[in-house]
């Protein structure tokens, strides 16, 4: 039986006032779950609520004690000057659970501020996926990606199915259909 990591029952979350809910769902180990909905429907707010960065107005949100989270926000931190190469970047993210995909290898010797937006996005996603955290949450991970980059991202996420829990928010339904084992529709 799959171990459950996140259980929401009638969850209503937001900031000054409710933004999303009521929602009931669960996420188990080995699942890659997509959150799908139109822009502004509250997908990012739900991720923030799970991370403890949004207010819960009603309902329950259960997570086991000691759960470790890797949460990549919509815009990964990218400074104007970043004197780190790809190896540094993955090392400080503690992304050493798995070797990175071969397609990322040529970028690892470059300073990360010289990478294109798409290359940096894929490296940033791998920084989350390659670590030890129990649950990885990715917010709009297809940002800056061309079709080739989206295909690589899909392969990276498919390789996680059955291995760890991933919760990802996107407004691109076709991408979610290909990358996820299950999809939660928000705002319907």
């Amino acid at each position: 039986m799959t171990q459950t990591l996140i259980v929401a029952n009638g969850l209503v979350a937001g900031y000054a006032k409710p933004v999303i809910g009521p929602l009931s769902f669960s996420v188990g180990v080995g699942e890659v779950v997509g959150l799908w909905g139109a822009n502004g429907c509250g997908k990012s707010t739900l991720l923030r609520a799970i991370a403890g960065n949004a207010r819960i107005f009603d309902g329950d949100l259960g997570r086991p004690p000691g759960l470790t989270l890797a949460w990549q926000m919509q815009q990964p931190v990218r400074l104007d000057e970043m004197p780190l190469d790809g190896h540094d970047y993955l090392r400080y993210a503690q992304a050493h659970r798995q070797a990175p995909p071969n397609r990322l290898a040529p970028w690892l010797d470059q300073r990360i501020d010289t990478l294109s937006g798409g290359q940096f996005q894929l490296l940033a996603v791998w920084a989350m996926l390659g670590g030890q955290c129990d649950l990885v949450m990715l917010d709009e991970p297809t940002n800056n990606l061309d079709p080739t980059g989206e295909q690589l991202l899909t392969e990276m996420l498919q390789s996680q199915q059955g291995r760890r829990a991933v919760l990802l928010a996107s407004h691109e339904r076709r991408f979610l259909d290909e990358a996820c084992s299950r999809i939660l529709e928000i705002g319907r």
Partner: protein
């Protein structure tokens, strides 16, 4: 030119104290730049200068008085929940006003105020050397644990959620390390010389270094190189140390950046990333 002064045993202790700071402050500055908090160093230096002078008026040596103001500033910064650079600008203004008012109203303060601004390295004594030795040893010992936490919290804020207390302790520890470094730097090298060591070498290294380890090494190396050159020039030509160090740092930085542009032109444009 007074070449004999370079070999005078009288200057060995000041030289050693400054050299240790020229090693540590650029490394601390590299982390400050990564956190976009380099202005904090100038704010803390001003507070350190002011509290050093206030302490002096009360009969406390600057090497003890300066850290009090800087540590106070570090606590305000850590627990005040200020956003942006406002708190650092306030520190600069408070420190500047207090320094000049104390200097204007006490005879010793006037002399020391000038010394703090100009850089009074040659008056550094055994207390400064002992303080910098302890500071540099502690900094170098803590960095292997501190750097990964500081880099991670800066670049991956979503990764530390499960261990926020430990992260906050390291961040406070770093703030205190910066405060102590700026206090020792200000009382040993002078206000602007200490700030220049925190600001200029990391500024160059952030542009030129191919990776993080090289960035730290280049920062420390530039700091030491500029310090040794400035020490020799200031002694040999009887110049005030602080402005000499700042001028040499800027010259070394300009040359290093120029050399980087020349090397980049020789190699041609970088490959286009897709």
């Amino acid at each position: 030119m007074n070449g004999d002064a370079l070999l005078d045993p009288l200057f060995r202790i000041p030289f050693a104290a400054g050299l240790l700071l020229a090693l540590a402050l650029p490394i601390v500055g590299t982390l400050l730049r990564l956190r976009d908090e380099w202005l904090a160093a100038l704010g803390l230096a001003h507070l350190a200068g002011a509290s050093g002078l206030v302490g002096l008026a009360a009969g406390i040596p600057t090497v003890l008085g300066a850290p009090l103001g800087a540590l106070g500033g570090a606590f305000v910064k850590s627990f005040g929940r200020f956003r942006g650079n406002t708190v650092y600008a306030l520190m600069i203004l408070v420190g500047w006003a207090a320094t000049l008012l104390v200097a204007a109203n006490t005879a010793l303060g006037s002399a020391m105020g000038h010394a703090l601004v100009e850089g009074q390295l040659y008056f550094a004594g055994r207390a400064h050397l002992a303080g910098t030795l302890v500071y540099v040893a502690s900094t170098l010992a803590l960095l292997p644990w501190m750097i990964p936490v500081l880099v991670r919290t800066r670049l991956f804020p979503g990764l530390e959620i499960s261990d926020q207390r430990s992260t906050q302790r390291w961040q406070l520890g770093f703030d205190l390390l910066v405060a102590l470094g700026m206090a020792l730097g200000t009382s040993t090298l002078g206000l602007m010389a200490a700030f220049a060591l925190v600001f200029v070498p990391p500024w160059v290294a952030f542009q030129r270094a191919p990776h993080w380890r090289a960035c730290l090494t280049m920062s420390a190396g530039l700091g030491i190189l500029a310090y040794v050159l400035a020490f020799a020039i200031a002694l040999a030509w009887d110049q005030p140390f602080g402005p000499t160090l700042v001028a040499v740092l800027i010259a070394v930085a300009g040359l290093t950046i120029f050399q980087g542009h020349v090397a980049a032109r020789r190699l041609g444009p970088p490959p286009v990333s897709s």
